[in-house]
């Protein structure tokens, strides 16, 4: 049995109370939702918060997927399993459903939350790449009020985000673009492992032309989980296998993977190329109405 260091436990019944507890206990306190990242790190004593603030009572208020105008609003306490089961998500952001299908395993998906995944900010986090591809915004509340942050400026480095120690991420918002669709591709050594590399794509299409393209990459050190040079290749062009292969190759070149036991750098770059190409092809087919969702 792996045993964590001594830790105090608090339980927040509202967002306001969670913020008040964060203010009270300072930077050595941590929010705990699904706990599937924090608890293992605590057991290995890699994380040693003095206080954990349990926000599971907030699930009632912060667990939802709903359409608000031309946006999808996803509450931070929404569990992975709920996201996977959501018809709204499948309809408007198939990339999310495809990613959720390959995130960890059912046990983790039943407990882990969207907000927890984003705030943990693991460089291999699938949802970071997904929301980067979708151009999401996140809502953050704290003692100084509420703010919205573009996903591109959300991450400040591996395992770090703009969320201050006394703040809480409450919601993720995704714009529903007309004529757009998306797809996600991931290769892992085994079901439940982190990605060796993963690529998501969102394409907005008008006629045969790509009017907007966003690519999200996980586990390969991509700045803001994006592949801007590959995206630039796509904009305004007509979709074709050659174009997607070229964009994939560019994504493979511009990301910044490092070798580890999941694979050497050259393989990861290759994998990014292949997965980007595949995600682009499928997203394009979907957006053009050419292939099944």
């Amino acid at each position: 049995m792996q045993v964590p260091a001594p830790v105090e436990y608090e339980r927040a019944l509202s967002v306001e109370e969670a913020i008040a507890l964060l203010v009270k206990h300072g930077s050595e306190s941590r929010l705990i939702a699904g706990g599937h990242s924090l608890l293992p790190m605590m057991k290995l004593r890699l994380a040693r918060p003095e206080v954990v603030i349990d926000i599971n009572p907030l699930a009632g208020a912060l667990s939802y997927v709903r359409r608000e105008g031309d946006e999808l609003a996803i509450g931070a306490m929404t569990r992975h399993a709920d996201l996977l089961a959501s018809a709204l998500v499948s309809e408007h952001a198939p990339i999310i459903a495809e990613a959720e299908r390959v995130i960890a395993d059912p046990v983790v998906r039943n407990r882990g939350t969207v907000g927890g995944s984003l705030c943990q900010a693991d460089p291999a986090e699938d949802l970071s790449a997904v929301f980067a591809a979708l151009g999401a915004t996140v809502r953050i509340r704290g003692p100084r009020g509420e703010r919205s942050v573009d996903i591109d400026s959300f991450h400040t480095g591996p395992y770090t985000t703009v969320v201050e120690p006394d703040e809480i991420l409450t919601e993720v918002r995704v714009r529903i673009h007309p004529g757009a669709s998306s797809a996600y591709e991931k290769v892992e050594r085994r079901v439940g492992d982190w990605a060796i590399a993963a690529a998501g794509a969102m394409l907005q299409v008008s006629g045969a032309a790509i009017t907007s393209a966003r690519i999200g990459l996980a586990a390969v050190g991509a700045e803001a989980f994006r592949a801007p040079r590959a995206e630039a290749l796509l904009s305004g062009k007509e979709g074709s296998p050659e174009l997607f292969a070229a964009a994939g190759a560019e994504a493979g070149r511009e990301c910044n993977p490092h070798s580890d036991q999941r694979g050497p750098e050259d393989y990861k770059r290759h994998l990014v190329s292949v997965l980007t190409e595949r995600a682009l092809s499928r997203a394009y087919a979907r957006a053009s109405g050419g292939a099944a969702r």
Binding site: M1, V187, R189, D193, S259, R262, G263, P264, Y267, H270
Partner: protein, 792 residues
Amino acid sequence: MTTVEEGKAHVGFGRMLRKEDARFLRGKGNYVDDIRLPGMLHGAILRSPHAHARIRSIDTSAAEAHPKVKAVVTGATLETLNLAWIPSLSHDVVAVLATDKVRFQGQEVAFVVAEDRYSARDALELIDVDYEVLPPVVDAKRALDPDAPVIRDDIEGKKDNYIFDWEAGDKAVCDDVFAKADVVVSQEMLYPRVHPAPMETCGAVAWMDPIDQKLTIWSTTQAPHAHRTLYALVAGLPEHKLRVISPDIGGGFGNKVGIYPGYVLAIVGSILTKAPVKWMEDRSENLMSTSFARDYHMRGEIAATREGKILGVRVDVLADHGAFNNTAQPTKYPAGFFHVFTGSYDLAAAHCHVRGVYTNKAPGGVAYACSFRVTEAVYLVERMVDRLAQELGVDPAELRMKNLLRPDQFPHVTPTGWEYDSGEYPRALQLAMDIAGYDELRREQAEKRARGELMGIGISFFTETVGAGPKRHMDILGLGMADGCEVRVHPTGKAVVRLSVQTQGQGHETTFAQIVSEVTGIPAEDVEVVHGDTDNTPFGLGTYGSRSTPVSGAAAAVASRRIVDKARIIAAAMLECAPEDLEWDRGSFHVKGDPGTSKTIQEVALAAHGPMDLPDGVEGHLDATCVYDPPNLTYPFGAYICVVDVDPGTGKVAVRRFIAVDDCGPRINPMIVEGQVHGGLADGVGMALMEAIAFDEDGNNLGASFMDYLIPTSLECPSWETGETVTPSPHHPLGLKGVGESATVGSPPAVVNAVIDALAPFGVKHADMPLTPAQVWRAMHGNPMRTDLAIQ
């Protein structure tokens, strides 16, 4: 498909539900960590963060000042008890707690005993160890370099990292065969370091009763009797005052054969504190410090005629044994049974040379369902046969069929000295090919290749070598590998069978009851199996190397026959006839020609305990014992076929089908056999595709958690297709051969052969396990990686 009739008495072999599952399925097992004794304290081990470092000093004062800490033990403490080092199972010594140096990451440095597990763990952080970090030996291939750091400077005069050289087979004859052969193919291959990773980690509860000076140890051991004797020999404790209890065990796979420092420390902790002490390692401790398996760098060569008649196999092995030579196998075989690498083929000659070296890694080497390195041997020969097929451009099934030993060649003595007991190899391979639809699969593959799709078909034919072993050849530290059994029939006809072997999930409580039932006719439900407690069972060396059925199963059969023999005499007295006038109907005797005049075994049991005058020389009661010294090993075998699909873009392998035909002789309980085969096949898929412990250049263990050391899930495993042939062992009383490790031994080469077959369009000849997506892609591009080192 397993179907079991409920509510009916089961006599003899056949499918029946596992008796032990009544408690396991309810979560009511009793594992070491479930043991709670009054006043029990908890221990935790401080481990080395470095692979190689000199210990300048250890300051334990802050830990000792912790209010809940009862004792802190260091190597210095143990030196005063003469317990800092203990003998290994392979003519070496092992540090219980490091005194001079640490020699692998995760090595035991200090032990804290505290009132609770949390405090013990917290206090570890209060111990200050001053290390002088030394350069480590990580790459086994560099271990014998002249400038390599010397790991074992504790051994007087030791100037290098050499352990042993060992050979088998006639080198001159073999070299001659190779010199004259039309075709010789050679291949370097690594069987990487893998870990048994049983669901239950290792642990112990020790209680030295200060009044009667009796030491009781509940521990995760596959060999309670061997442990008791070794504790007695090592610590000078009187053996009659030692009791080792192995309660329910959550998987062993060889990981729980040896004596770990933690067990010794729990004992020392109990002696020092005069209280029971529990020590239970966590997952990372299990993965980092306990017995691994394999780590064999092999160079194989195979010689054949142009027509595809295999003539010989020779192998050169560099064996990485880690920091201490602590492999567990019969004493005179430092490379275990590796010399069974001649496999299932009719060879003119064979030779192997194995060289063992020290590295700064955890010790071990023989663990994980390996039958003493038969896993490595089968992998070697089955990869070599596929390499030969590739070189000759012939179908690997056809090449095997042509070279398999024929039934009329048994008993067969191999060029390395094994005497295979029985086998019908071509029949098993043909059955596997029939189940697979082999020719159709090859047609499908050809079509797919034409479209650029990668599909592979891999075959493995293995011969296992289990049931160690004949006392004249095999002992462990001087203890002969014979096992005892006692069968006692109670007055009411129910029975108890006491065994030296210990189940870790294999279903002994069911299968041994079935063995007694098969012979005596007493329903299996009426036979209680007692094991895992040295005070209540006869001596024997325990469960590993698939030896329970071949050795203890034979002991149980012989003891049961002795029961029946005695019952015959008593029944004859009851029926007032001569014993030879009785016929045995399994469960009852009747007078020949008069089926109505009979006595059941239960009636005989009551009479044996009753007032009746028994014939001269027959004592009362109905019990018998046997110590079984097997005349030979048993040789289960099987034919496996694996079908894989490889994504040409990503290198990801999907195992589509797996056909396993096993021949383990008669099956005691086919359901349990199938379960063991299923588990072993999953093991094989894991080792072939994802499992490995690599080390970085500083000697850091890169597989120290289940995030890093991957074990396959149901999603990586196909629905297994199993088949059977039955070739009884001629020397086992019931013809049984054992099956525990067959699938683990046989499956990895089938998976690897399938993947390499899929990659044939790229000209790939070999790539080492695990065949991760990255490794497959690298192989496709002619640049496969070394899988024992950090990926660069």
